[in-house]
Symmetry: C2
Subunit: 448 residues, 2 copies
Amino acid sequence: MTSPNKRVGVIGCGPSGISVLSAFNQAQLNGQTIPEIVCFEKQDSVGGLWNYTFYTGTDQYGEQCHGSMYRYLWSNGPKEVLEFGDYSFRDHFGKPISSYPPRPVLKDYVVGKAKKHDIGRFVRLSTIVRHVEKVGDQFSVISENLKSREQKKELFDYIIVASGHFSVPSQPTYPGIENFNGRIMHSHDFRDAVGFQGQKMLLIGNGYSAEDIALQCNKYGVKDITISYRSSPTGFKWPEGVREIPQLDKYENGRFHFKDGSSDSYEVLMFCTGYQHHFSFLTEDIRLNAKNYLFVEDLYKGIILNKNPQIIYIGMHDQYYTFTMFDIQGCYARDYILGKIEIGNEAERTADIEYWGEYFSKVKDGHDEIDYQRDYVTDLLKYCDYPEHGHEKRAELLHRWKGERKENITTYRDKSYTSVMTGDVGPIPKTPWMKNMDDSLEGYINTI
Amino acid sequence: MTSPNKRVGVIGCGPSGISVLSAFNQAQLNGQTIPEIVCFEKQDSVGGLWNYTFYTGTDQYGEQCHGSMYRYLWSNGPKEVLEFGDYSFRDHFGKPISSYPPRPVLKDYVVGKAKKHDIGRFVRLSTIVRHVEKVGDQFSVISENLKSREQKKELFDYIIVASGHFSVPSQPTYPGIENFNGRIMHSHDFRDAVGFQGQKMLLIGNGYSAEDIALQCNKYGVKDITISYRSSPTGFKWPEGVREIPQLDKYENGRFHFKDGSSDSYEVLMFCTGYQHHFSFLTEDIRLNAKNYLFVEDLYKGIILNKNPQIIYIGMHDQYYTFTMFDIQGCYARDYILGKIEIGNEAERTADIEYWGEYFSKVKDGHDEIDYQRDYVTDLLKYCDYPEHGHEKRAELLHRWKGERKENITTYRDKSYTSVMTGDVGPIPKTPWMKNMDDSLEGYINTI
């Protein structure tokens, strides 16, 4: 049993942090006593990755730039999958909106949830966590206000790490690329497709980043885009001007050479090679070393660090379920901290982790992955009272979505889904996604 | 008196760190007992900024990229000013070389000095310092090997901060620039001028970065470059294709508007707005807050943190003198740690700092700055036995250099200087700098 008279430090106030704080707010609304909570957010506003910044590399404070968002980004999954169980899109927008909104619309929705739960009272904005280490049974946290440069050292009983894992690039190298005269960059620093017009682009990687940036650039007038895959092509039916080729081998004499023996020259080499779990502010003993991102073997119930259960990680999985998974993880974390959930001893926790590891080892494809994550979240739901929100049915939407993407990568965002919570039917966009150049909140709201 | 039986932690192994380690090596060669020294270097090789990397933003380990170097960078000051007192260019290259060598040549020279002093025995490469804090009379240093991810927590009696101050961008913003579709970047991420061919560039700032990058880009075929200055133009006679205009006011409707009422459109907006002293790994109480970079009021003798004299900063000034100043600061730091120099109490130290502050307040222009820094280093030399190396005479070279730059910014690198140590006359380059596209070590050595 843990007592509510404890101090909880939450690191990060993006969707995962907001979920945690909302969960605690809900408990308080329900008449429960909650611990003292401090949430540290290094950006100037909440919303995490859903904030857009023109900075790349380092931000205005000289800190590593968190933002990976680019202009004209639209959701790549139907919003009906990520609709918060306690705050529907209808609650926020007052009317049905289409199934694939652009970034500013989703950010507005996330911030709306944060406001509904009045989480501002927990949050220190523009405040970075420099260092966390175990001190006795507690954790010392050194934070710094980036505006005043004032530092504080405080003790907490629980640390909830909600700093995300799409901010620190993972970037390989290839022989000879240091001699390339053009632009070498990671997709983390991609901001505006328009600026790449007239440039011939080579994208390394075949995940969501490469796919979406290739499409973006194609949509905004870049004529010649090559995606280089490591193991297998995406198989999508690309529009004219986008092609896929095997892995890059080397750069030599002004040309990029690929494993299939072909070679070509480019102006831009962009690594769309994903991100790493990177927690430089935590000492090694409490740091997550995630290897497999859909099943994380160090985490009990996918959130509690097994070797030190006062450290909790939120949203550290690779994701099909997103916002609702963070919410439910947040509820579980809250009830555990409030002493309402018993987690057993380390051996018992390990046995549970092994069960999920065993299950995950049988997962064969993307559809299995969806079902695996559905079942993982279903398991969490058994322990906490998150509102009924059609969790199981959402897996069906995900399976459908996967099929539609495969069918046509340029039109899947024009489809309509029905909310499993409100029954709202997402209106079909008046302008197909490939033709719609206005991603502003106002433009979007006024045309649906 | 301090004892040699102490532990010294040195952070960074660029020129400043190498100077410190060389100084200790020299003392050991002279038969003195030196403390245990550990130098932490986050890059994979010594040399600091003189290393070149194609990474921008974050490096291969997900850490903030240290490197600000770009291809085709040549020294912007005569090498005769920075020639090490204990290791001449003749010692290293065995023959006279021209006065303005390219980056790989200077890097080779710096590494040569490091090898001469066998500093490798002190250095932990690929090892970042995460956190330093005062613990009793010592300092706890948490470092992390970026390859193995192993962390260590160790105690030191002295911390020497030699991590440089040209790595963390200082970047302002202007109204509307978040709407600019082109590339927004800081000069920290500039790597290769060739990649900017055909692009119209706006550089913000009129310091060394803007000047050198404008010239580079002009030299490598960029046709249209605008430098926007804040207070006054550089006054250099720019080649065709480079112009200077007053400060940027805002970005609106696809155009950049300037304070003189003019406006224009660009493809690249590059902030050449310098760097900040940024020591995120140090707690606030031991962190340098430098405001004026030629005179640093928190530092006794320009190196010892007055409020905590177990913390020493090397190379934190703005620089006319560079390598030799670091060397002499390193010697002073060494002799202080070895107990051979008494620094007095805080009030006495403050009085000395005030003397230099008073002197600095009378400095009116660049020539005064040169003399000021000459006298500052002359003062340090009184306390330690760095080899005679013509320190005072080098100021004359600097005055001459300043005049030649003003006279012709495109040809000053073709001049010859004479070493005040060896009497070697720098050969006039066979190919003028503006026409010489080969900046390789081999190409350079073979053609002089």
